[in-house]
Symmetry: C2
Subunit: 187 residues, 2 copies
């Protein structure tokens, strides 16, 4: 019966991939369970064989979205880009558009504040991982300074992208991303 469990696991992963994609694109309230299941090639009824609620799915999807791209941040990964390369992509108009990649920390920042404990826990976990990776990239001063600096860098990246996505003015959005990038280069 091992193949059956494998099949269930695969289906579950497929649902999570669809959920991560749709939630980061449209936010929690504009995505129905129907949408997620349809994207995964299934129907509504099958959903509750894998998850207990839409909220539980959201919490797991945030982690899944982070994992899909977490390796890019991990400095232990030999293929990981440098911090400069990472920032360059993170604060790009391509990332703002969000066609191929959407960091859940920036795309869902204020969406999270309206959700229940388990969802906020998942977001917090991902953010702490982000900070840890940034600190490892810095590691040049003492621990406290690195921690403070990594928080400032995180805010400049996540906040800069989030606000550039909110404004309805391409030129302003571009200048915002450039200004944030410049701030990080200056240090």
């Amino acid at each position: 019966m091992a193949w059956k469990e494998q099949h269930k696991h695969n289906t579950r992963q497929k649902i999570l991939r669809s959920a991560a994609k749709l939630f980061t694109k449209q936010g929690f309230d504009h995505v129905g369970i129907n949408d997620v299941m349809k994207d995964a090639g299934l129907t509504r009824g099958a959903f509750y064989a894998h998850f207990n609620s839409k909220s539980e799915l959201y919490a797991e999807a945030i982690i899944a979205a982070a994992i899909q791209t977490g390796d890019k941040l991990n400095p232990d990964n030999p293929e990981a880009p440098s911090l400069d390369q990472l920032v360059q992509f993170y604060l790009s108009m391509e990332h703002r558009q969000g066609e191929h990649f959407r960091c859940p920390l920036a795309f869902l920042a204020t969406d999270i504040t309206q959700r229940d404990e388990q969802v906020r826990d998942a977001y917090t976990l991902v953010f702490k991982g982000f900070l840890k990776h940034l600190t490892a990239h810095l590691q040049r001063r003492n621990g406290d300074l690195d921690r403070t600096r990594s928080m400032q860098v995180a805010v400049m990246m996540i906040g800069g992208l989030a606000i550039s996505r909110a404004v309805n003015d391409e030129e302003l959005a571009k200048n915002l991303l450039i200004s944030c990038h410049q701030n990080l280069l200056d240090h």
Copy 2:
């Protein structure tokens, strides 16, 4: 018939105040027209005598929320606090809690990306006003440098507050706000 128009104007303003309060607190999707009208002391049916749609109300409410506190940012206002005082409150745990004051730029940042043109236009307008006020507060270098710096300051304030609100860890939230504040003091 002037008093009638006055009455309609007053009612409209009351609806806008309630909308600004509820939308910044709970976001667009979790606030019904019923909730807004009840808070304003009216019933659903009366809503469409004042606004054409919920979305139109949202756009105007964002402006209203900004105006309610915009004077604090205006350097021409003799009662306006200094930039340091402004930052100190903006990046405070009290603002994060949002009991008395909620800056729509931070509280609704990613909420906006899911809305229609008129809502995003309103947000963009408010953000540009914020930048303008910050630039006036700085005005010490040449124009381009001030503009770049004001964008960085705006991202550090708005982004820092938004992320501190998203994380489910009071200690981390506090450290985030302090780190952002520190960054602004260092310049």
